[in-house]
């Protein structure tokens, strides 16, 4: 009984954590660096891409989603879907207002 640990799930070890920490620091410095480079419309894209990459690392490893059940993954996906729905459909209105005279 006393040996039972309540989560039977995969235990992520410090090695992985240190690696992720390293990657996150590199990502942070990279995104700061990238913002000083002139890339036109790509600046925000790169900034968001790096941010998303960092967020993915945090979600997958720090938050153990890589080792979680399908349900957790599905939950996150559905939340993101609705979130993106809010943003894209609102923006769709704003952007398409400029198309016509309306």
């Amino acid at each position: 009984m006393s040996e039972q640990t309540e989560n039977a799930q995969h235990i992520v070890g410090p090695k992985v954590y240190v690696l992720i920490l390293f990657a996150l620091i590199v990502g942070t410095l990279a995104t700061v660096g990238a913002s000083f480079v002139e890339m036109g419309v790509w600046n925000p894209v790169v900034a968001l891409a790096i941010a998303t990459g960092k967020a993915m690392l945090v979600v997958l490893f720090f938050m153990h989603v890589k080792y979680s059940t399908k349900l957790t993954k599905l939950t996150i996906a559905s939340g993101l879907f609705i979130f993106l729905g809010l943003i894209t459909m609102t923006m769709a209105d704003y952007i398409s207002r400029a198309w016509g005279r309306w």
Binding site: M1, S2, Q4, T5, E6, N7, A8, I11, V12, G13, P14, Y17, V18, I20, L21, L24, I25, T28, L29, T31, V32, A34, S35, F36, V37, E38, N43, P44, A47, L48, I50, A51, K54, A55, V58, V59, F61, F62, M63, H64, L71, T72, T75, I76, S78, G79, L80, I82, F83, L86, I87, T90, M91, Y94, I95
Partner: protein, 251 residues
Amino acid sequence: MSDSSAIENSVAVEAHHEHPPYQRHHFESVAQQFDATNFAMWLFLLTEVMFFGGLFTAYLVMRNWYYPAFVVGSHQLSIFWGTLNTLALICSSFTMAMSVWCAQTRRKSGLVLCLTLTFVLGLVFLGIKGIEWHEKWVKHHVPGLRYSVEAFVNPASDPEVFAEYHDKPLAPDMAVKTEQYFFLYFAMTGMHALHMVIGIGILAFMIFRARAGDYTSGHVTFVENFGLYWHFVDIIWIYLFALLYLISRHQ
């Protein structure tokens, strides 16, 4: 009196199994309890995503409309403090992840150490945030309460701002829109900081309990779930940093 058949059923049958003390009565097993609370935490994080989602939507709309004002506004933030803060928060996320590992592998002193580090790094973050906000106050960049667009139209008029102002002056009508940028800046970082404060409060409580050894006897749920919350707050900051601080630094 007890002739109704229903009453026979009513004799509560005591649970047969021996449960660890942290298992709540209505769960069948510890695994179920962990699963359920973990899932609940994720759902809660989804609500948080949508909560910040409203702010992000507002941000996107305004940024699309008033891009020049957003560029200039963002240049008023200190990239040094911003980067430092991001690193502090990332490190705190790391120490939080380590706390979870310590709890899972039952290292009590390690757990207390990691939680304390997380706590300290969280405070460092808030401290730096405080410095930045104070600077905004000094520079008259607090929308509604203490705001001046003068500096954006004519930077020389405000020596505080002028010292680090490298942008071309804005047209007066666009300069007004910088207030939108700072409104969103304060709303978003303020909401984020509020989450940090709540997190730090819970951390203090957890350090207290961890010292009593509560989390190193197999009951990892609380630490794990709090970890999720803390990492989520970190993720929000990763985006806030990219969206608020890093708009066209090259200009």
